[in-house]
Each structure stands twice: as structure tokens, then as C-alpha cells.
């Protein structure tokens, strides 16, 4: 697993260096690196897939573990572990990495090498976040993920990039510092209890923190994850960051970076501090519902294609929060599916947004309209992904939201009824987006735009297939995460 990380980090450096030999070379290198990473990843998981062979280490749901001594003085180790959940998310990260490179193929004409280096590094950071089981290492990767993303927005972003990137950085960094504080507090508490330093997730699970301090520490983690998710009212960095980021940045940001928040809650928040999490579940569910509806209302009000999709993310990620704190396996499996399905559909929508901006030099919906006639391939793709995100049965997003709401109903029927309003408001902004951009009369200036390139169709086609599989046969995915969710369920005592 560390080789996978190494591949991405070194690949980034090579891509940077290669820019002096050709304009398209960094992109090509990035693609090759990512395909190699996917190949290597497939090689890694091949023995553990299908077979019923979890590593007999502690919890019984890890598929792969790896550990190196790093800073023994403080019990810090370079420990990585993969279970079904992280396997899925790493897979998603690598896939969307390829999509991101394809999406920005002709968009980046300045410092392409450094761009792709940052792209690969932020991917490496994300993969690290999904794999790290030493909390110190986790924090390190958290930072590795954020800084290159900040640079991507700040250097290659659109007109308002300076403010947007700063906002992104301050939001995530300050909440990240709270998380660092929480990590250190837990470590100190661990020393006090056992006399030994350790940042290991498994050790911490054995020695759970109790009392009021647990609640405070949980809140420290929680804030970092809520900002990342993003949950209402910590979401306001996201529309700016998404809108201003280059296409690849938006794809990665929406597709995988947001998922680190949900992942963190499921991996660390709930199992490490089950009581604190359970106590706070009511307010968290309420901000989840508020986020779902608030995001939908604001999405409908937007006139900027990317901003609209960004707010739709706030709404859809609110469902993830609901799923996590509905506190049963049904809803959790829905939350995991939602992470993947939303990753795929939103990445595709941002890719389409990027393609539109590249052709029209604007993101304003008023400047669009009737584009189906001009670019039928793009129109059909946009329609598919809008319909997916509206929650059409048979596609991944529906599956996820159905499981989340069915799980939520068992615990909180009224809250579920309120959240179900989003099934309508979601359709309101979805159809409005589709119709404003692709239906209606076409403007004279837009009459001769080129349709999507075959490269784009290939990337989008992969996402289409992914959503269809998730919608019609999600069982392999559910089976992959079920051991983890069952273990969490035991730890959370639900």
C-alpha cells in the first residue's frame, strides 16, 4: 500500500519535471501514473476480493494491513490498513483521478507540469487519508491532501480564485487544527491510562476515552469532518471553492475530498467515541436535514452552472450525515453507497460544467439554452447524470438515498418525512439546470460548438456504467462494506 502512495507522489514529481519536454506530456504522464496505480491497486486487492479472507488482526474486517516503525519515541507508526470501505474509496479516488486528468486535458495551458503534480499529490493525500490507521499519519495525509488542492484553486482557478482558495484554506485548516488538538488530547489521555504513547487506531479502540473529555475530543474531530463534508452551516467555503476551481479541482473536490469527512466520521468519529456521537446524534440529524433542504433551495436560486452543482452537493452530502447518525446498518450502507454514487455523478456534472465553460467562456445559465441541438452527446450525458442525481430508481444515487431514508425512518420517521421533501426540491433544481442549459431556443453565438471529445465520452461512459451497476446490482459493494459496518455497529452498541 505504501508503494501505491509512493507511485502517486513520485509520479507527481515526474509530471512536474516533464513539463519542459512538451505541453501535453505532463497530462500523459499523469494518466500513465494513474493507470499504473489502478493496475497496482487491482493487483493488491486481487487476493482479498472474493475470498473470505480478512486479516485475522484485531477487529476482523481488515483486508490488508501494513505497518512500519516511524517515530518510536511517541509511538507513532507508519500504519496503513484497508477494509472494504477504504478499498471502495481508494478505488473511487483513482478512477476520478483519471476522469480529472481527462477533464482538464485541453483546459490547462499554463504550468501544466506543476498542475498535474499537485493533482497527483492531492490524490496521494486522499488515498493516504483513506488508508492511514495511525492518527498522526492520518493528520499528515489530511494536510497533504489540502495544500495541493489549495494551490490548484489558487493558481489555476477562475476569476475569483484568490478569495475562494483562501476561504477554502482557512475553513479546512482551522478545523484541521481542532482535529490535531483532539488527536493530541486523545494521545495524552492514552499515555495517562496505559503509560505508553500510541497513535494507533486499533490501540485507541481498545482503550476508549470516556467522560466529558470524550465529548470535547469528539467535537474536535466532528468539526473537521463536518467542514469537509460539508454540513450546514459549515458549508459556505464549498460553493466558492467549487465554482472557482479548475475542472479537475472540482471533480476531485466533489468526487473524493468531501468523502473524507464522511469517511472520518464512520471510521473514527463513531467507533472511537460512540457515546459522545450518540448523544449528539439529534442535533447532527437536524443539521443534516437542514443541509439537505437548504442546499436544495439554494441550488435552485443559482445562475451559475457550477455553483448550482456545488449546492446540490451540500444537499446530497446532507443525506450522508443523516445516514451516519440514523445509527443503523441499513442507513450506514446507504451512506457508503451515497459517497460513491455522489462521487460519480457529481464528478460527471462538474466535468460537463468544465466542458461548457471551455466552449462558452461562461458558466452563466442565461448564456446557455438549446445546447442539445448543438451538442447532442453532451446533452444526453448531462441528462443522464442529472436524472441520476435526481434519484431515479435503477441508478446508484437512488439506491443510496433509499437505504438512508429507509434506515432513518426506522429511528426518526418524522425527520425522514421532512428529508423526503428533498426528493421533490432536488428534482426542481435538477430539471431547471437541464432545461436552462440544454433545452429551449439556442442562441446564435452557440450554434457551432464542438461536441464532446471521444476521450470525454470514454470517461463519462465509465461513470455511467458505475452508476448503473450501483443502481441495479449494488450487492458486491454492500458485501464489501458490511463486515466493517457490522463491526462499527458492535462498537457503537446499536
Amino acid at each position: 500500500m505504501s508503494l501505491l502512495l509512493m507511485l502517486l507522489l513520485v509520479g507527481g514529481a515526474i509530471a512536474w519535471y516533464s513539463e519542459r519536454f512538451g505541453k501535453e506530456l505532463p497530462a500523459k504522464i499523469a494518466i500513465v501514473v494513474l493507470l499504473m496505480a489502478i493496475g497496482f491497486f487491482a493487483y493488491l486487492i486481487r487476493p482479498v476480493l472474493g475470498a473470505d479472507s480478512s486479516v485475522s488482526d484485531g477487529l476482523g474486517f481488515w483486508l490488508l494491513v501494513e505497518s512500519h516503525v516511524w517515530i518510536p519515541r511517541f509511538g507513532i507508526t507508519f500504519s496503513l490498513a484497508m477494509d472494504g470501505m477504504s478499498l471502495l474509496l481508494v478505488g473511487l479516488t483513482l478512477l476520478l483521478g483519471v476522469v480529472a486528468v481527462i477533464a482538464s486535458w485541453s483546459e490547462i495551458d499554463m504550468r501544466a507540469g506543476f498542475f498535474h503534480a499537485n493533482l497527483l499529490w492531492t490524490l496521494a493525500g486522499t488515498v493516504g487519508v483513506f488508508l492511514a490507521v495511525d492518527l498522526f499519519l492520518f493528520f499528515l495525509f489530511w494536510e497533504v491532501m489540502l495544500v495541493p488542492m489549495y494551490l490548484l484553486i489558487a493558481i489555476w482557478g477562475h476569476e475569483g480564485r484568490a478569495k475562494a482558495s483562501m476561504k477554502f484554506f482557512i475553513f479546512t485548516q482551522s478545523s484541521g487544527l481542532l482535529m490535531l488538538l483532539a488527536i493530541l488530547t486523545t494521545a495524552v489521555a492514552y499515555v495517562t491510562a496505559t503509560g505508553e504513547w500510541s497513535f494507533s487506531y486499533m490501540d485507541w479502540l481498545d482503550q476508549p476515552l470516556t467522560g466529558p473529555i470524550a465529548t470535547w475530543v469528539f467535537v474536535g474531530f466532528l468539526l473537521a469532518f463536518l467542514v469537509k463534508l460539508p454540513a450546514f452551516p459549515f458549508h459556505s467555503w464549498l460553493p466558492d471553492a467549487h465554482t472557482q476551481a479548475p475542472t479537475a479541482g472540482s471533480v476531485i473536490l466533489a468526487g473524493v475530498l468531501l468523502k473524507t469527512g464522511a469517511y472520518g466520521l464512520l471510521r473514527f468519529g463513531v467507533p472511537l467515541f460512540p457515546d459522545a456521537a450518540n448523544t449528539l446524534s439529534t442535533p447532527l440529524l437536524i443539521i443534516g436535514v437542514v443541509g439537505v433542504l437548504y442546499g436544495a433551495v439554494l441550488a435552485f436560486g443559482q445562475q451559475d452552472f457550477k455553483r448550482l452543482v456545488a449546492y446540490s452537493s451540500v444537499s446530497h452530502m446532507g443525506f450522508v450525515l443523516l445516514g451516519i447518525f440514523a445509527w443503523n446498518t441499513l442507513a450506514w450502507s446507504g451512506a457508503v453507497l451515497q459517497m460513491i454514487a455522489h462521487g460519480l455523478s457529481t464528478a460527471a456534472l462538474f466535468m460537463i460544467a468544465g466542458a461548457l465553460q471551455h466552449r462558452l467562456h461562461t458558466r452563466k445559465l442565461e448564456a446557455m439554452g438549446g445546447l442539445w441541438r448543438v451538442m447532442p452527446r453532451m446533452g444526453a450525458m448531462a441528462m443522464f447524470f442529472v436524472i441520476a442525481s435526481v434519484g431515479m430508481p435503477g441508478l446508484g444515487n437512488f439506491m443510496a438515498e433509499f437505504l438512508i431514508l429507509a434506515g432513518l425512518f426506522q429511528a426518526w420517521p418524522l425527520l425522514c418525512a421532512v428529508a423526503a421533501i428533498a426528493l421533490v426540491t432536488g428534482a426542481v433544481y435538477g430539471l431547471s439546470l437541464l432545461q436552462q442549459a440544454f433545452h429551449g431556443p439556442v442562441a446564435e453565438v452557440n450554434k457551432s460548438l464542438p461536441d464532446l471529445h471521444w476521450r470525454d465520452m470514454l470517461a463519462l461512459g465509465a461513470l455511467v456504467i458505475g452508476l448503473l451497476v450501483l443502481g441495479l446490482y449494488p450487492q458486491p459493494v454492500i458485501d464489501l462494506v458490511m463486515p466493517t459496518l457490522n463491526a462499527i455497529s458492535t462498537m457503537a452498541g446499536s
Binding site: 437548504y294 431514508l405 426528493l423 421533490v424
Partner: protein, 612 residues
Amino acid sequence: MQLLLILVPTLPLLSATLLLLLGRNMPQRMVTALGVGSVGLAAAAVAVIARQWLMAPDPVTIVLWQWFAVQDFSVDISLHLDQLSIIWLCTITGIGFLIHLYSSEYMANDSDYSRYFAYLNLFVASMLILVLADNLLLLFLGWEGVGLCSYLLIGFWYADKANGAAARKAFLFTRAGDAVMALGLFLLVAEFNTLDIQQLVSSATDQWATGSLLPTLACALIFAGVVGKSAQLPLQTWLPDAMAGPTPVSALIHAATMVTAGIYLLTRLNGLYVLAPDVLWGVAVIGVITAVVAACAALAQNDIKRILAYSTISQLGYMFLALGIQAWEAGVMHMMTHAFFKALLFLAAGAVIECLHHEQDIRRMGGLRQRLPVPFWSFLIGSAALAALPFTAGFASKDLILLFAWEAGSGGVWLWSLAALGALITAIYSFKLIFVVFFGDLKTEPTHQPGWRMALPLGILGLFSIAGGLIVLPLDQIITIASGEPGHGLIAWISGAIPVLGVAIAYLLFQRGGIEHIGLIQSPFGRWLAGFWQGGWGMDTFYDLVIQRPYRALTQWWRNEPVDLLVAGVTSTATRIHSVLAATQNGSLGRYITVMVAGLILMLALLQGGVS
């Protein structure tokens, strides 16, 4: 037979996929072959299945694959064939095929020919999945798929924004019902941990007391979805606007697919609904009110397609009335006969419209009896069946509903009276159409006659609209409680005479020009009422004021992110503090010394205070 059954929804689905992916580069002939042929083959398969099945009428369940399983809650992708689904299969594929055939001529000159057939096939496939689904989630897939396809087809000519708005309206109104319906499904999952229809009904019968809270709640929630999809009060307003799509699409929506889905679902869940008598009573009341309200609205329309649209809403009301009073067979029967004559009427209307250069206003039509004989005879038969004149298919089913209503317990008289009033109005407006469009003076000269691909479906549907009432529906395995035979007394004669009376009134009013001489109709109140009815009883205005405008206002108000003001507040406070503090470091030595001395004095004073 299993393979055949799987093929029934798969053929149109496959054809839709092919057309969507490759249709733009296909020759038109091939598109026709795929689009029409796939539904034709599906219809043929259904015919074979029906024949085999008549010999051994046992329900068949085919599990295709396990959809998903979380812990012990699992849902399969599985098909279920029984008496109820076979009735719908025959209707959908049979009428669907005729509409496809008709479309191949009607849409021949459209530049998006292949996209049209792709959506049309997908529509049929979704509806087939809906009626074949063995569990409520797969049914919901078909249910939403039907909604999506109606959206796509209503907004088919997307260059016109009005079509897009109509399409969006249809989708959102039905979706609002569906969201509530989904809650019903969640309730069933929470209670029984399954969505399998057979299991649900049997566990509910075992565990739930008749009339208790949970079955009432579950049935009411699911009925909300039905109200949306089958265009009943108060969610009916999308259907008249759905006319924006090509006319054969209207035939498909109104006859074979979409709106009859609600009838199907209630009948399918009849074992559950008998546990909720209050909800059933509500179904009957909503049904009969919708029947009258929509009939009045139909009377006031001038657009030929809108008349037919309101008549559909009204006829669906009759079906729900039947289901609500547990005359299940009568409801299903009326669904089928209505499918025949409504498809006939829409296709005939399409022929008229097309032959008159897309003229839809009946005030600019007239005297077409001899000019367009095929549409005339089709319309005559269709209107007679719609009015439920004796010896038509419509009579067979609607008369049954009226008689059952009469016998439906304490409120039966009221239900019958309203239903009879609706029947009278129905007869009036259906023959208003005939007299205004086909008699009188010629106002617009038709340009051509419909070809065979349009005429043939009209002929076949005409035949069924008359003889369809003779079909005996097998439903004994579906309906647990027999409805019995309604009585034949004076009331039967009255019920039968009402449509004839309606036709007579229509003749006097519209053929003899009586409408000009009745003071009430020409009075200001009469005109206001006509306008009110024409606008669909002001429901659109109501929704506009109560939902649409407030929601738009809210989005405008929040558009710039109120939460961000808080963040901006933090930033501006920081900036202000910065400017205050920056002023202290202006590099002026004098100021520094002054402040330092002042500080010293303050400190000493405080120390003094502390000492003393």
C-alpha cells in the same frame, strides 16, 4: 414461457437502448423496424403467454437476480405474472403497439424520429416493469421510469420553453406524490422488513387489525403517489398541460400507460387496502369529486386535446370510485374499456389535427364529417363509448360502476347521484365534440387523408371500443372479497338513460344552437363560470400563489447565502480590529511615549489601589 415473459419488458428496453446510443446514425426505416417491431414482438409474446396461461392459470414468479440485501432485508429483481398483470400486459402491449404503428406515420417528418421512438419504447418498458414487478421497490422503479418518460415525451419538442415547463410540471407533480408514497414504502419496510407484495399483504392481514392506525397510514401514504400519477384531485393539474407532447404520446399516457398505474397499484394491494376502510372511503370520495369537477372543466374547453385530457381525469375518477367502494372488477374493467376508447379518441384527434395543419381549437373546426370519414367514425364510436351509450364498451363498465355505487352502503345514494351527474356532463361534452367538429359548416379545409398506418389502429381500436365490453376479465385470484352482482331495478334503467339524455341535450345546445338562447349560460355569471372551469377550477393559480411564488421568492432571498454573512462578519470584524491595531503602530515616537507613560500611570494607580 419464462423466457417469453422476460422478453416482454426486455425487448422494448433493448430497443430503447439501441436507439438512444446509435439511433442518430440509423436510417429511418431501421428506426421504425426497431421501435415499432420491438413493441410488436412484445405484444406477440404477450399473446402467446396469455394463450398458454389460460390453460394453466397459476401465478408465475421469476427471480432474475437479487437486487440487494442488507442484513435480513433483501429485495429481488423479480417478475410476477398473475391475472391482474396479464390484463395490463395485454392492454399495454396491444394498445402500445397500435400507437407505435400510428406514430411511425404521424412522426415521419420529425427530425428527432429516433429519439422519439427511443423514449416511447422506454415508456412501454417502464410500464411493463411496473405491472410485472414482484415487489414494491421494482414497481417503484417502473413507476418513476414512467414519470421520467412522460417528462421526456411531454417536453419532446424542447426548443419551445412552454413544452419544457409542461414537462417539468408533470414530473414535479407526480414526484410530489411519489415522495409521500416512498414514505409509505419505508413504513412497510420498518414494519415487515420486506417489500415483496405477496408477503406484505399476507403479513399485514395477519398482523394488522382492520381500520387500525398503521394500515390506514400506509395506505394513505401510498395513495398519495397514486393521486399524483393518476391525476386525481388535488394533483391533477399536470395532465391537461401534458398535451404539449406529440398527440400519440397523449394516447399512450392516457390509455395504455402512466395514469392507469394508480388503478393497477390499488388493485394489486387490495388485500392491504381492505384493512383501511377509511382510506378506501376517501378514495371513492376523491374519485367521484374528481369525476364531476373534471367533467365540468372538460365541458368548458375549446382545445380538442384538452377536452380529452379532462375527460381522462374524469374517467379515472370513476375508476377510483369503483375501487373505493370495492367494486374492483368494475374499476379494472373500466380501465380497459377506457384504454380502448381513449386511445381511439386521441389517435382520431391526432388525425384531425394533423390533417388540419395542427389546428387544435374546435371553434375553427366543423363540417368534417364527409371530408375526414375515418376520423369521424372513429370519433363517433369513441365519443359514444366515452358517453357510455348502450351497446358500447364504455357502457358495460361505467354502468356497472354506477350500479355498484348505488349499493355502496350508507353514502351510496350520494356517490351515485354525483357519478350520475358526471355521466350526464360527460355525455354532453363528448357529443359537443361530435356536433361542433364534424357537423355544421366547414371552417378549415383538410389538406390530406390519414394513411393506412394511422387508419388501421383507428379501425382496430374502434372495434374494441364497441365489443370490448364483452371481454370477461379473470380476476378471481386477485380479489379476495367478491363484489357480487349489482341489482337491476329502476335505478339500472335510470343509469342507462342518463347518457342518452346527455346526447339529446348536446344536440339541442350545439347542433340546434340552443346555447345562444339560454340566459344562464350567456349571463355574466355563466361566462365567469365557464372561464373558471376552463382554467381548471383555478387550481393552477392556487399552486402558483401558494407554492411556486413563495418558493421562488425564498430562493431569490437566500440566493446569496445568508450563512455566508456570518463568515463575512468574522472577516470584516478581523479587518476592523486589524485597522484599529494597525493605527497603534504608526511609527510616531511621540505617540508611543505618550501611550507608554499613560500605561505606566495606569499601572501605578492600579498598584496603589491594590496596596491600600
